[in-house]
C-alpha cells in the first residue's frame, strides 16, 4: 500500500518532506480533513475521499498565511526542512486553540522535531501569528 507521503510527492507536492519515515519527526505532516497526520504513516486508503491540505495549499497566491508570515518575521525557519510540517502543526493548533499559552504551543508542536532552532523562534512566531490573526479565521 502506497504511503500518502509518496503519492503527494509523486504528484509534485514536494513541500511535504520525509525526515524519518516512522512518524517521529513530523516533517511529513499534512492536514487530513483538518486533522494533523504524519503522511509517512498514512496508507493511501485512509485518505480516500478526504480533504488534504499540504504546505502548498496554505498561502493564497503571494499572500502568506498569518502563520507563515510570522515564521518569516520571527526567524521560525532555519534550514526549512521541518518548516512545512511545523507550520501545518501550528495552523492546526491555532484552529483548535486560537489563544494558546506558550505551554500549549509547546505541547501542540511536540510531534514536530526541529534540529536548528531550539524551538524558541518557533514559539515566538506562533504566538505572534495568534496576535495577528482575526479570531474568526483562526
Amino acid at each position: 500500500m502506497a504511503r500518502l507521503l509518496d503519492v503527494l510527492r509523486a504528484a509534485g507536492l514536494t513541500g511535504t518532506k520525509e525526515g524519518c519515515g516512522e512518524g517521529e519527526c513530523g516533517a511529513c505532516a499534512v492536514l487530513l480533513n483538518g486533522a494533523l497526520v504524519n503522511s509517512c504513516l498514512t496508507p493511501l486508503a485512509h485518505a480516500a475521499g478526504a480533504a488534504i491540505t499540504t504546505i502548498e495549499g496554505l498561502a493564497s497566491d503571494e499572500q502568506l498565511h498569518a502563520v507563515q508570515q510570522a515564521f518569516l518575521d520571527c526567524g521560525g525557519a532555519q534550514c526549512g526542512i521541518c518548516t512545512p510540517g511545523m507550520v501545518l502543526a501550528a495552523v492546526s493548533l491555532l484552529r483548535r486553540n486560537p489563544n494558546p499559552t506558550e505551554d500549549a504551543v509547546r505541547e501542540g508542536l511536540a510531534g514536530n522535531l526541529c534540529r536548528c532552532t531550539g524551538y524558541g523562534r518557533i514559539f515566538a512566531a506562533v504566538l505572534e501569528a495568534c496576535r495577528r490573526m482575526p479570531q474568526a479565521t483562526a
Partner: protein
Amino acid sequence: MQPGAGGSAVRREGRAKLTGRALYVDDVAPPGLIHGVTIRSPVSRGTIRGLRFDPSLDWSEYTIVTAADIPGINIVKLIADDQPYLADRVVQHAEEPVLLVAHPDPMRAEAARRLITIDIDPLPPVLSMDEASEEFKRYSVVKGDVDRALSAADLVVVEGDYSTGAQEQLYIEPNGMIAVADREHGGVTVWGSMQCPYYIHGALAALLNLPEARVRVVQMETGGGFGGKEEYPTIIAGHAALLAWKSGRPVKMIYGRSEDMASTTKRHPSRTRHRTAVTRDGQLVAMDIDFMLDGGAYCTLSPVVLSRGTIHAAGPYDCPNVRVRGRVVKTNVPPHGAFRGFGAPQSIFALERQMDRVAQAVGLDPAEFRRRNFVRNGDTLAVGQTIREPVDMHALLQRALTLSGFAAKRAAFARANPSARVRKGIGLATFMHGAGFTGSGEVHLASVVTVEGAADGGVRVLAASTEIGQGTNTIFSQIAAEALGLEIDDIEIAQPDTAVVPNSGPTVASRTCMVVGKLVESAATGIRRTLVDSGYLPSTYTRAQFHHACERYIARFGDLRSTSQYTPPPNVRWDDETYTGDAYATYAWAAYVAEVSVDLVTWEIHVDDFVAVQEVGRVINPTLATGQIEGGVAQGIGWALYEDVVWREGRMANAQMTNYIMPTSMDLPPIRVYFEEVPYAGGPGGAKGIGELPMDGAAPAIFNAVADATDVDPRDLPLTPERLLSLWAARHA
C-alpha cells in the same frame, strides 16, 4: 526598506522554505532517473572473500558497481589517504560501503539489499579507545613546567576523568545526491545536500580521473548540516557519480534515516583526564590534561578535530604551567567526524566540570574561583597566543549571574532540597571558541569571493559558502548591501555551483560570517571603488545613481567584477612545526548558566532555565544570531542528557529517531540569549564567528547544576536517568 548589517532582516530564502517551494535534492527527478543504494559491511573488520547475488533476482536489470569499476583513485581525498569509496579487499568497520546497485524502481533497488551477501572472513575488531593501539594524530601543548609546579608543597591537587559519548548530528533532511555523467565527453555533475561543494569537486576529479574543469558540483537547498554534511557527502557524491558513470543514466541516492544514522559520521567520543593544582586561595598553578578522541576506522577530519579540542582544553584561564596531550586513536567503528564545535565541546565539558570540582576543593564559589583565574587582555594562552583584544570574562560572567539570579537561587535550592523529591540546582560554565580554521588553516585555504555588478544595477555575490539554515544568504546580503549603501533586495546570492562561484572554502568552523563575510565586504567595497575611481559614481550616491553607474560602466567595459582573497589579519602568526602561536585570529567568549530539576523517583533531569551571555563581536542579524545560539544550546542539552548512541559490536543499535532521543519542544527550557558587542576589526562590520560557540557551554553548565542539586559527581555524558540512578546508588550505598 530593509536594514543593512545590524538589522534583523528576514531570511532571504525564507518565503520559499515557508511555502514548500524550496527545492531539496529529493524534490527533483531528472528524466530517466535510476535509484542507487549502498551495500555495506555487516561486520566490523574482516577480509572480503566474495559477493553472492541471489539468483531469484534478474540482476541484468541492475547497475552494479564495485571497487573494480572505479576509473580513478579509490581513495576519499581528505587528510590521510586511507579511506576507500568502496572497500576492496578488507573492511575496517561495520556499515562500510562495499558495492553499489541501482534500479529504475526505488523499491526494487531497496530489495537488492537483502539479496546480496558479502562473504567476509572476520578479524578481531578494536571497539573501544582502551583497546586501541594505533593513533591517527597526537598533539602536545606545553607552557611552563607542569611536573615541577605539581611537586611544590602546599598546593591543592584535584584529579578527574571525564567522558563524552558519540552524538548524531540528526539534521532532519537525510543525506542525498543526484549525479549525471557524460562519459562520451568526460564530465560529471552532482547536485545535493552538502556544506562544502569544493571538497566534493576535488574529490570527484580524482575518483573519476577527470580534469577538475569537467566536474561540476551544485548545492541544493540543504536541510541542516551541523558538520554532518561536511565530509561524508563526498562519499555519497562519489557513489552516485560511479553509478551514473557506469549506467549512463542520472542517479539519485537518498539515505533513509536509519542508514544515515548508522553509517555516517558522528561527534567523536572522548575521554579526558585532568590533574589541576591550585593554591589554597584558588589561584591556578598547573593544569595537566590528557585528551583522547575515538576517531573510528579512518582518519577523515580527526586530526583537525583533535587540534581544536586540544587548543580549547585549557579554556579562558590564565595558568603559568599547562600541559595538554591530545591524541585521536583508531578503532573499528564507523569514522567519527565534524560536528558543531569540532572537538572543543568535548574538552570544554571536561574542563568546566573539573573547574567546579577544583572550586569545591578549595571552598570557593564556582564563579569566584573562575574570576580569580580568567585570562585578560595581554595574557598568554597555553598555546602561546597573547590576547590582544579587549576581553572581559568578568563582565560576561557577572551578567549571566545577575540574569539567572544565580546566588539567590543557589542558596534557596540548598535550603529546600533536603526535604524535596525534586531537587533543584544551578550551574555555570565559562568558555571561549576560536573563529575560523585552526592555526594556519585559513592561510592554506586562501578563500576567494567575487562580487559582480549587473547592468540593471543588481549586485551578485559569488561564493561557495552554503546556506544550511544558519543564514549565509541573509548575512552576505546584509554585508554587501551595507558596503555598497544599497538595499538587501538589490543583492543576489548565487547558488553555490562550482561552475559559477569561486572557492570561498568549506562552510564550517564558525568562519562563514567572519572570514568569508569579510571577503564579501571587501569585494563589494571593490565594486564601489571601481565605479568611483572610474568617474561613473560620486563618492556619495543614491541607489539610482549606483544603478546608473553600473549600467554605464558595463556598457563601456563589458563587465563589473571585484574579487577578494583571504590574507591573515596583521600580527596573526602560527607555526605548524612547533604548534604554537595565534591558534585563531580571534575568539568568541561566553558565560552560560543552567538551572535544573532532578526527580529522585524517575531520575529524570529537566533543564528549567538557561541563560546564555556571549561576546561575538558585532551582531549582524540579531534574530538569526539568537536562533544560532538557541539551536546550539538545544543541541548541547540533547548531548548532555538525552542523546545516547548505543553501540553493539561496533554498530549503532539505536539508529532510529524512535530510540535515539533528541530534544522536543517539551524538553527545552526558555533559552535566554544576550549579546555583548565588541566590534572585531578583522570581521565584516566588526562581526566574529558564532555558530559553534553555543555547543560548548550547555553540557558542563548542566552537569554542574546536577552536582549542585544532588551530592553526586557526574562526569560521564550523556547523563541518562539510568546513569544518574547508579551514581546516586553508589553514593548512598
